[in-house]
Symmetry: C2
Subunit: 206 residues, 2 copies
C-alpha cells in the first residue's frame, strides 16, 4: 500500500532534503518529514536511528556522487598537458551544477549544502570534513601548480572566496530572478559559466 514506487528510506531522504532546504535542520520536524514522505513517524528512528543520523544520510547520498564526479573530472584534466585554469575550475563547478540540475531534488540539496555552511554545528562540520575534505585538498594541489604566482596562503584565501561564491550561486540565493521564459536548467548553466569566468579572473589577479 505504498504511495510511491520508492522505498520508505528513499522517500524519507527525499522529503527530508526538500524540507531541510526550506526550513533548515532545526526548523523542519520529523512529523513534517514523515507526513511529506507518506510514512509513519517512527520510520525515521527505525531506519536511521535519530534525526541527526538522518541529516548525515541526506548529505551522504549526494556527496558521495558529487565528490566522485569532481575527482574524476580533476584527474581526467590532469592527464592533459594543456589543461587550463578554466578547466580545473570547471572540474570543480560543473559536477555541482549537474547535481543541482538533477531531477528528484538535486536543487534542493544545494540549498541544504549552503545551510550546512551556515551551521556552526561541530558534529556536522567534522562529518563533512572527515568524509569529503580529501577531494578539496587535491584541488588545492592542482590550483597551486597552475597559479605559481600565488603563495599557499594567498591561494587559500582566494579559493575560500570561490567556494563561498559557488555555494551561494548554486543554492540560488541571489537576487537574480529567473525570467519567465528561462528554464531552471538554463539559469543554472548560465550561473556556472559566469562563475567560471569570474573566478578565473579573480584567481589570476596579481
Amino acid at each position: 500500500m505504498n504511495a510511491s514506487q520508492f522505498s520508505t528510506k528513499q522517500r524519507i531522504l527525499g522529503a527530508a532534503e526538500a524540507l531541510f532546504a526550506r526550513y533548515g535542520f532545526a526548523g523542519a520536524s520529523l512529523r513534517q518529514v514523515t507526513a511529506a514522505a507518506n510514512v509513519n513517524l517512527a520510520a525515521v528512528n527505525y531506519h536511521f536511528g535519530s534525526k541527526e543520523n538522518l541529516i548525515e544520510e541526506v548529505f551522504r547520498r549526494r556527496l558521495d556522487d558529487l565528490n566522485a564526479r569532481r575527482q574524476a573530472a580533476l584527474t581526467k584534466g590532469e592527464k592533459r598537458a594543456d589543461a587550463t585554469l578554466e578547466d580545473t575550475l570547471d572540474a570543480f563547478i560543473r559536477p555541482a551544477l549537474e547535481l543541482s540540475l538533477d531531477r528528484s531534488g538535486g536543487g534542493a540539496f544545494m540549498r541544504v549544502l549552503a545551510r550546512a555552511y551556515a551551521e556552526h554545528d561541530d558534529r556536522l562540520r567534522r562529518f563533512l570534513s572527515d568524509n569529503y575534505g580529501h577531494v578539496l585538498r587535491e584541488f588545492v594541489v592542482v590550483f597551486h601548480h597552475m597559479l605559481p604566482h600565488l603563495d599557499k596562503e594567498e591561494l587559500y584565501w582566494r579559493l575560500d572566496i570561490v567556494a563561498g561564491a559557488l555555494t551561494y550561486a548554486m543554492a540560488d540565493f541571489g537576487v537574480i530572478k529567473r525570467k519567465g521564459g528561462v528554464s531552471e536548467q538554463h539559469h543554472r548553466e548560465r550561473a556556472a559559466e559566469h562563475l567560471v569566468r569570474f573566478a578565473a579572473a579573480g584567481l589570476r589577479a596579481p
Copy 2:
C-alpha cells in the same frame, strides 16, 4: 538588580544576536536567549511582541547603521572624479568589515546575516528587501558607470557573485582558520583586502 549596565531590551538583542548566529533562528529558543541575557522569559514578548519581531529588531539595530555607512562611503566616492572600481568595492565592503570588527557582537551579526540569506522565509526576505534594497540599487548604478563593457544582465550576475563571496567571507565560514598569533581584527582586514582585489579582477574580466 541588573547584571549589566545595559537595558533589558539591549541585553535581549545582544543575546539573541549571538545565539541566532550559533544556532539559527529556529534553533535558538527564547528560553536560551532570556537566560543568556539574564532576563525573565516574558520580557521578550513584552518588549518585542513576538520572536519574529525580535528577529527583525536584531537586523534593524545593525543594518540601519551599516546601510548609512555604505551610502555615505558611496556618495563620498562619487564626488571624486578619479574614483576607481576598487574604491566603490571598498565602499561596499569596508562598512561590513568595520561592523564585523565592532565589539559587542558585530562579528556575530555577520553570521546572522549570512543565515538570513539561507532562509527562504518570505517575511524575512521581504523585510530586508523593503528596508535595505535601495542602497544596493544605488551601488548597481555606480558600478554600471564604471563597467561600461558589461551589459545590465551581465553586471547583475557578477554583483550577485560578489555579494555571495562577501557574505561568506565576512561570516567567517571559510576553511581558513586564523593562526595563533593573528587577531580576529587582523584576520578580517586581510579578508576584506583579498576580497576587494579578487572582486575587482572578476568584475573587470571581459
